[in-house]
């Protein structure tokens, strides 16, 4: 029996090759795309789950009430972790954590390694399995370090790494360390990343801050004892917090802050390690959002859905041609269940073939996918028995639903009715129409999403940020020399070059440089009885001139003014924050005693991403604070050549350091990476969605035209024109697109509006975006259907009448 089903199934598929091809093509593409997208999504969702203790590990943050509302921070003062361990019950293990670069020297090799500075417990809490060396407590000694396998390769090549001594540059001094353990490279799904792990006490900030509760500069990860809940732990921490942050709490009360829901002004929060990758603190409130991966899964689902709708619609439409077979089988004694099984098994054929091709497609496209969408998914992940059985389960389920529905319809048909070859038209077409409307709604939704994302991206790329981004190169000052000395040498080296207009430096970059790091320093002080918070930027001379910032009052720092190192330049927002009629009379207070007068106000510029409003900013010039990035303004025209000149100059100053220079406009572009990936994703999704919908539409139009061949013939004989027949055949389909447009547009409007709200600087939503998305869908649908209908309308009526 099965053989009979399979033979007739196979021959049916082969009889209408166009149809089978369209079906298999659509489903394969959908499967392939869905596999890739779900891989990326599940990859993202599995972040940090590889740690064996993940369920008990939390990252600690503080929630602070200020006069302006709630603030949140993940940075803590150095003594805090020890105090938690000593005073609050429930701590199993705890580790402070700072991520920084470490210039590591071994023989004549100098590598700028990605380092974490952590406590002893770190390797007991987190699962970074040791491959060699001390497995139990590799950071027991302060002079020990742990490196990853590829770092060991880079430093020592073939030689044994364990027991080797390397020097690490800390506060300008080389300090010796012994490699005690080599661990496997960080898994790609790890939030914590390092090439070398060093004891926390060795970090350059530590010696000055070991007892200080004012300077907050590191994260804390805690592993709670089994059975201790984070809520419990937070409650137990309240006495310690009240004691240690008494001063801050009192200041907050004085400034008019209001207590939070728990009646507190200062509180810690514990964020589960599994949520860390997805957490942010917009407006001072913790937000854990897995929207990204779920959006990707959603798109995967929508694409599969569209392909499945095609399959259902085509099967139902095709069944009209198989009515005689159904009726005949019934008169020969087939039961409903048997017919159902027969049609299901045919679907099974198509689905298995498509899933197979889909897998092959996804493997072929994996590498391109990884580069375009910046994900580290690998086939190993997918090869797990879990993933394979999950995939098979999903395919089977889809086969059952998608193959089962038309099969059910067909097996239920009455014998006589089907023998006569008549399909009870009204009901079936309704299902088909609804499904097609849903398909096109999805397509229109994705198209408008794409247009708006592109619009916002374009806006952000072209917005005047308030500084010259096209002509300025920035690069990290990560050599052995003191940064002021290095910048001065750079000025000297480049002095003779007419294409170099200005050289300066600061302790922060603009946008993301090639070193991929970004930081933010905040400073708060009491100004005339209020707390004022500002961004803190250490600059060198000529910062304003090099970046083309505009002074709106006063002057920039200038050489020869001895007091400038005790003065500040602020931005307009800071000036407003200080609230003086003449901002030049205001000051910034350092160390509770020294007043730094404001000598100049610079026009606001976007020193952070455009989703953030411009915050208060204060610039200092002080030789005691290190600079981390050099800025070189070059003349237009010879920019590539000048970049080379800068690189050569830097190589003469720091021969062993890598040059990671890039233009600021590239840096700014890199900050849109997330948006770009999302735009590419949704754009590809919408292209695939529209192509698949059109495949379905094309197939249905093919069938409808075939079914109406006789009618078309008669109409033509009676005298209908080609255009009127084309119109008649096309309008039914276009009607569906119009309905889809009416459904999709409000949804698209709402969701894109929500998304844009996350940007302080954004485009306005425009009705035309939605109308063009609808028009686009309409035109594509028209072209798809039109080719068939025009052809049918032009056919010689005698010929079409004879086919019956």
């Amino acid at each position: 029996m099965l053989k009979n089903y399979l033979t007739i199934g196979w021959r049916n598929l082969m009889k209408d090759k166009t149809f089978t091809f369209l079906n298999v093509l659509g489903l394969s593409v959908a499967f392939g795309v869905a596999i890739l997208l779900s891989m990326a999504a599940f990859f993202d969702l599995s972040y940090d789950k590889f740690h064996a203790n993940v369920d008990n590990i939390y990252r600690i943050h503080t929630l602070e009430q200020t006069a302006k509302g709630q603030g949140a921070s993940v940075s803590h003062p150095a003594p805090f972790a020890e105090a938690l361990k000593a005073k609050v019950p429930g701590v199993d293990r705890i580790s402070r954590h700072v991520q920084d670069d470490a210039l590591t020297i071994y023989g004549d090799k100098e590598l700028n390694l990605d380092a974490v500075w952590v406590d002893e417990d770190f390797f007991a809490m987190f699962s970074f399995p040791a491959l060699k060396g001390n497995m139990d407590n590799p950071l027991e000694n302060q002079s020990s370090i742990v490196i990853t396998e590829s770092t060991a390769d880079k430093l020592f090549g073939e030689a044994e790494a364990i027991g080797q001594t390397v020097n690490i540059l800390i506060s300008g001094e080389e300090q010796p360390f012994i490699v005690s353990s080599v661990v496997a490279d960080n898994p790609p799904q790890s939030t914590l990343e390092f090439e070398v792990a060093i004891r926390f006490e060795k970090h350059y900030e530590y010696s000055g801050n070991r007892e200080s509760w004012d300077n907050r500069y590191h994260d804390i990860y805690v592993q709670l004892q089994n059975g201790v809940s984070p809520e419990q732990f937070e409650k137990s921490s309240r006495p310690l917090i009240a004691l240690r942050y008494q001063e801050q709490i009192e200041n907050a009360k004085r400034d008019g802050a209001r207590a939070n829901a728990d009646g507190l002004y200062w509180q810690i929060g514990l964020l589960s390690m599994t949520d860390v990758h997805f957490a942010s603190f917009p407006n001072g409130f913790l937000k854990v959002s897995r929207t990204g991966p779920y959006l990707i899964l959603g798109i995967a689902f929508l694409i599969l859905f569209i392909a499945c709708v095609n399959f259902i619609n085509m099967s139902i439409a095709k069944s009209a041609q198989r009515l005689r077979e159904i009726g005949m089988r019934k008169t020969l004694g087939a039961q409903k269940a048997q017919l159902f099984f027969q049609f299901c098994s045919e679907s099974f054929f198509v689905f298995m073939a498509s899933a197979g091709i889909g897998i092959v497609l996804s493997i072929l496209l994996l590498n391109d996918f990884k580069t375009i969408f910046r994900t580290d998914v690998s086939l190993d992940m997918v090869a797990s028995p879990w993933a394979i059985s999950g995939f098979l389960g999903v395919v089977l389920l889809i086969t059952l639903i998608v193959g089962g529905y038309p099969a059910l319809l067909m097996s239920k048909l009455g014998t006589i009715q089907s023998l006569k070859g008549k399909l009870d038209a009204s009901g079936k077409n309704k299902v088909r129409d609804i499904l097609m409307v849903v398909q096109f709604s999805i397509a229109i939704l994705l198209i408008s999403g794409t247009l708006i994302l592109w619009g916002q991206l374009d806006f952000m790329r072209n917005k005047n940020l308030g500084y010259t981004k096209e002509q300025v190169i920035s690069f990290p000052l990560d050599g052995k020399k003191n940064s002021y000395e290095a910048v001065q040498l750079l000025r000297d080296e480049l002095r003779g070059n007419p294409d170099v207009l200005n050289v300066t430096a600061a302790d922060n970059n603009l946008g993301y440089g090639l070193d991929g790091s970004s930081s933010k320093s905040l400073y708060g002080y009491e100004y005339k009885g209020r707390m004022v918070r500002t961004n803190f930027l250490t600059v060198d001379y000529d910062y304003v001139e090099t970046l083309g910032l505009e002074m709106v009052a006063g002057r920039n720092f200038q050489r020869g003014f001895a007091n400038d190192s005790l003065s500040v330049v602020i931005n307009e927002t800071m000036a407003r924050e200080l609230g003086e009629d003449d901002p030049l009379t205001a000051y910034v207070m350092m160390n509770d005693s020294i007043q730094y007068p404001v000598i100049g106000v610079v026009k606001d510029y976007n020193f952070e991403r455009l989703d953030k409003a411009i915050e208060p900013m204060t610039m200092f010039i002080n030789n005691n604070w290190d600079l981390y990035y050099a800025y070189v303004k070059v003349a237009p025209g010879q920019m590539v050549k000048t970049m080379d000149a800068v690189q050569e100059a830097w190589a003469r100053i720091e021969p062993n350091a890598e040059f990671l220079g890039s233009f600021l406009d590239e840096n700014v572009d890199r900050t849109f990476r997330r948006e770009k990936v999302m735009a590419t994703l949704i754009a590809s999704g919408s292209v695939i969605a529209i192509v698949l919908s059109c495949i379905g539409l094309f197939a249905i139009s093919l069938l409808v035209v075939n079914q109406r061949t006789k009618e078309i013939g008669i109409r033509k004989v009676i005298g209908a024109s080609i255009s009127s027949i084309t119109f008649m055949l096309t309008k039914d389909f276009l009607k569906l697109v119009v309905i889809a447009f009416l459904i999709a547009s409000p949804i698209a409007w709402w969701s894109m509006n929500e998304w844009l709200k996350g940007y302080a600087f954004r485009i306005e939503l425009n009705v035309w975006v939605f109308i063009s998305a609808g028009m686009l869908a309409m035109v594509i649908a028209f072209l798809t259907v039109g080719t068939r209908t025009v052809k049918a309308a032009r056919q010689n009526p005698v010929k079409s009448l004879r086919t019956e």
């Binding site: 029996m1 009979n4 033979t7 007739i8 005949m328 008169t331 020969l332 039961q335």
Partner: protein
Amino acid sequence: MLLQLRNIFKWVNSGGQRLFLLKDINLNVEEGEFISVMGPSGSGKSTLLNVIGMLDNFDEGEYEFLHEPVHTLKEKHRANLYKEYIGFVFQSYHLLDELTVKENLEMPLLYKKFKGTERRAMVADMLDRFNIVGKKDLFPTQLSGGQQQLVGVARALIANPKLILADEPTGNLNSAQSEEIMGLFKQLNSEGVTIIQVTHSEKNAAYGSRVINLLDGRMIK
């Protein structure tokens, strides 16, 4: 007695009115009869045949087939009944275009769950008996109308039904082909198979032992 129809009515509702397709049909059929149903187009011949074949329901009356009261049976039971005892032949053959002659013949046996060896023997036997061994691997569209109907009859016969229902079996055939099919029916009937056929031709009707005339859904003498 093979089957008995008592006061069978069948109607459809159209515009609030009952439109009768069959009116008060009373009919006894003995085993071994060869009955021809005649009447103008639209008089209800096919409807009657479908009711007898249990492909279609009726609205009133009683129908006994081999002493089983068909009107009280569940659909599944009814399907088993016709599957076992009745073979159908259609004017337009209704062969499955995707299957070869051999596979078309085999299909009823599949639904009746015969074993593979048995099926092959029965199919071979049938091909032999109808002289179409050479055509066994051809598809229906590769055959002439007469040959297709031959396959249709063979398919109806393959599971040894007691009753064959033929709705204008020669309607699409030329006279030579018609005679061949009718001869076949005659022969089958003499072997004990009961046959009910719908026909428009007096000549074909003459092959039968009894004629039933229908007019507007009613039997006339």
